[in-house]
């Protein structure tokens, strides 16, 4: 389209022109500044290009600005396009989500082993190995699944950017119900139930604590610690290559 002479545009401060036209742009300062810079650069280049095609200064300015169309529409479009898609809050992504994944998986594994695993005969003994063997047949397979579950939890938390403390807290989250039981539930039960108080001995308490809190935590961390450091190293290598 040939350029016709039009009324003179008073100034060619493109940055100012863009800022004035997008004055109500609802973005944070940094984001808005980037948009202003980018559009300013585009308009300036368009203007220079139009000048080199033989347009007068006024016409080049007018046509460059007209390229944006309705500035209110452009403003709405930019706001919509730069709106961040809702993402999981940081604490949820780094802790709660992996924590509940590990908790759920550990519970599901225990239930599946109980349903589909070894089905020992129960014998009428109250002490010794023959008493605990049926329990161990269920317990040990479950304990062996925990490093894998811990590794998964650590990986998820690590991917979300969790620091070591958060990653390991999420990793050992499945022991929380048992910890609560041993630290709060059992003492309360001893207060209100004579039967529990009479039958629970200190060695039994520590055996239970080791079996359901300390060993599972160690098993979860046995998977979680290498997963955390390995995935951290992998990420660093990917970043340096990318």
């Amino acid at each position: 389209m040939p350029c016709a002479a039009l009324p003179r545009f008073p100034m060619h401060d493109w940055a100012q022109m863009v800022r004035e036209r997008l004055a109500n742009l609802a973005l944070d300062d940094d984001d808005a500044a980037q948009v202003f810079d980018e559009l300013t650069g585009h308009l300036e280049q368009d203007y220079r290009s139009l000048l080199s095609e033989g347009c007068s200064e006024e016409e080049a300015v007018r046509r460059a600005l007209a390229g944006a169309g309705d500035w209110q529409v452009l403003q709405r479009k930019i706001e919509a396009s730069r709106k961040k898609e809702p993402s999981m809050p940081k604490l949820v992504a780094q802790f709660w989500f992996p924590a509940f994944v590990t908790l759920l998986l550990s519970m599901v594994c225990l239930a599946l082993i109980q349903i589909f695993g070894p089905n020992p005969w129960l014998t009428p003994v109250t002490h010794g190995w023959r008493f605990v063997a049926p329990v161990l047949l269920v317990y040990f397979p479950w304990l062996f699944t925990l490093p894998f579950i811990g590794a998964l939890g650590a990986y998820i938390s690590n991917r979300a950017g969790g620091r070591a403390r958060v990653v390991f807290s999420a990793t050992i989250f499945p022991i929380l119900p048992y910890t609560v039981f041993f630290i709060i539930g059992l003492p309360i039960a001893m207060i209100f139930d004579d039967h529990v108080a009479r039958n629970l001995t200190l060695p039994m308490f520590f055996v239970g604590l080791c079996a359901w809190v300390i060993f599972p935590a160690a098993a979860l961390l046995a998977g979680g610690v290498p997963a955390h450091y390995f995935s951290g190293r992998l990420d660093a290598r990917t970043t340096s290559n990318g």
Binding site: V35, D37, E38, S49, G67, A68, G69
Partner: protein, 110 residues
Amino acid sequence: MIGTGIKKGTAELAILSVLEDGPLHGYELSRRIEAQTNGSLSFSLAALYPMLYRMEQRRWIRGTWETSSNGRRRRCYRLTPQGKKKLQPLRAEWSELFHALRRLTKVSNA
């Protein structure tokens, strides 16, 4: 002249295809598309940047600030691995559409 609806649909394909050849900043990108399609496809500033920002949000392209030799800051866009992955099915879809339209309308060399 190609209608607005089809232009909208082809915009993503056009941007990804042009960026496949190398990184470009917004203005160059719009000029390149216009030149390569003999003016059939052209992006106004109002159409281009919201589209680029949306594609960047989807991680198909990545914009980085660069300073040119004359000291001007420009945002340069390049295709990401996700963008490359997206380009293949997009091309296939549009190719299929063109073939279907050609058969339907019996237009040769469409």
